[in-house]
Symmetry: C2
Subunit: 261 residues, 2 copies
């Protein structure tokens, strides 16, 4: 690591007041200069949404040496974009997002605002890490996982990441105070089941709450789901290429002979 | 194709009244029974967002033989979920989304509500196609591209798609009334530049509109950007695995020796 102070952008999707981001800020301040640019209210489930129909504003909430904190009336992706264009004095050395209240393993990466902020950083070719604790509680115990968060972030600051690659880090709730270690794995297969709760309002009209439970369809040892189930932190390297490369050749035969006439 | 009537779910992100979805509905009704479940207002840029803090409702807007149309006060992904769980009489043979007003090529796939609906269909292992016309105008000429939309959808209904794979179909504005054909390609590299317009409100406070222009960083012939630039329809097969598989091995060495102590 060269001796210049590192610049770290911190964001999340649970909003700037969430205990998870307060924990992440505390850890990152040990590693360098920190600028927080986070949503002013919860943005869970906002995925890679951007705000196109409302103007964005930011507010400076705190400022001291090597530390500034802003809230933005937008999504996590809005926060990264606004930070990179306006609020950061220079290109950051690291973007961290979280610590999310709840797992972003498996397909949850697609719904996650936390991880969308990471992918936005990856598009900018800035090393970016999303941290999630597998506990949805607002008062989840972040303190006991802080040493892990610090060590992973420090490693990435020291050694960098492959270009255009971010990390989806999910941390299990420690069992008897222990986490076994770190596994670098792929995104496992899973799905949400029974996703709506159907209710009647006082006028007897139907409405629906999205709910349900996550079900794993993938017990393979090289997955994030397996690592977490077995007491390890899962690290999935992520990129923003959604191409199903193996399908290109078979589909050429199917579709390239389509003609207008 | 077996003789039973095909069931097709139609959705979009520009809202149920958009000319693009009206065009798509017209075409799909030639191919089978159509159920429309689409957002009640524009949801551009909503990506894979789901609605977790408000209850969802649907409204039946139209019903006749082999046709029903619903609006939902949510995102495109909400629409697919609600359709699959409540509104469809059975598993659909095809999900189509669009026709989007504007390109979803390259990284735009990540911001796109149109394509998020497709990925949600892919998670359910239902053949799913997103159609976009590279023209942002509300009164874009959809009629001249309808024969292509019909032929691509018909092919997929007849022959299916590889499992857990959808299609991101982008259609260029015809030049002299002509489109050259179809290319099956990968997601090209590109980025949005100069993304905010900075203004002052009447009280002299700052606000920002997301704006800017898309810039290609990838001139390779096997990309969607190249196909579109050269007058072809681009078809990118898409999946929901964000794992950067090639980065797993190098990162094992970097991160798996991290210890708590």
């Amino acid at each position: 690591m060269h001796t210049e102070t590192k610049l770290i952008l911190v964001t999340n999707d649970d909003g700037v007041t969430a205990p998870g981001i307060r924990s992440l800020i505390k850890v990152m301040r040990r590693l360098g200069e920190v600028i927080v640019v986070a949503p002013d209210k919860p943005q869970s489930g906002m995925a890679h949404a951007i705000t196109v129909s409302l103007p964005l504003r930011y507010h400076l909430l705190a400022q001291e040496e090597h530390y500034s904190e802003y809230s933005v009336n937008g999504t996590p992706v809005d926060c990264v974009k606004l930070a990179e264009k306006f609020l950061l004095p220079r290109r950051p050395d690291l973007i961290v997002s979280g610590i999310n209240h709840g797992s972003n393993a498996s397909i949850n990466v697609l719904y996650s605002g936390t991880m969308a902020a990471v992918l936005e950083g990856v598009m900018l070719d800035i090393p970016s890490i999303g941290f999630s604790l597998c506990d949805y509680a607002w008062d989840a115990d972040f303190i006991s996982i802080e040493p892990w968060v610090e060590k992973i972030a420090r490693k990435v600051l020291e050694d960098g990441l492959p270009r255009f690659t971010g990390l989806n880090v999910n941390i299990p709730v420690p069992v008897n105070g222990k986490i076994k270690g770190v596994k670098v794995v792929r995104q496992g297969e899973g799905r949400w089941e029974e996703e709506f709760e159907h209710r009647k309002d006082p006028r007897n009209k139907d409405y629906f709450w999205i709910t349900g439970y996550f079900k794993s369809y993938d017990g393979m040892p090289d997955t994030d789901l397996y690592a977490l189930d077995n007491g390890y932190i899962s690290v999935v390297p992520v990129h923003y290429d959604l191409t199903a490369h193996k399908a290109i050749l078979p589909l050429k035969n199917l579709l390239e002979d389509v003609q207008e006439g």
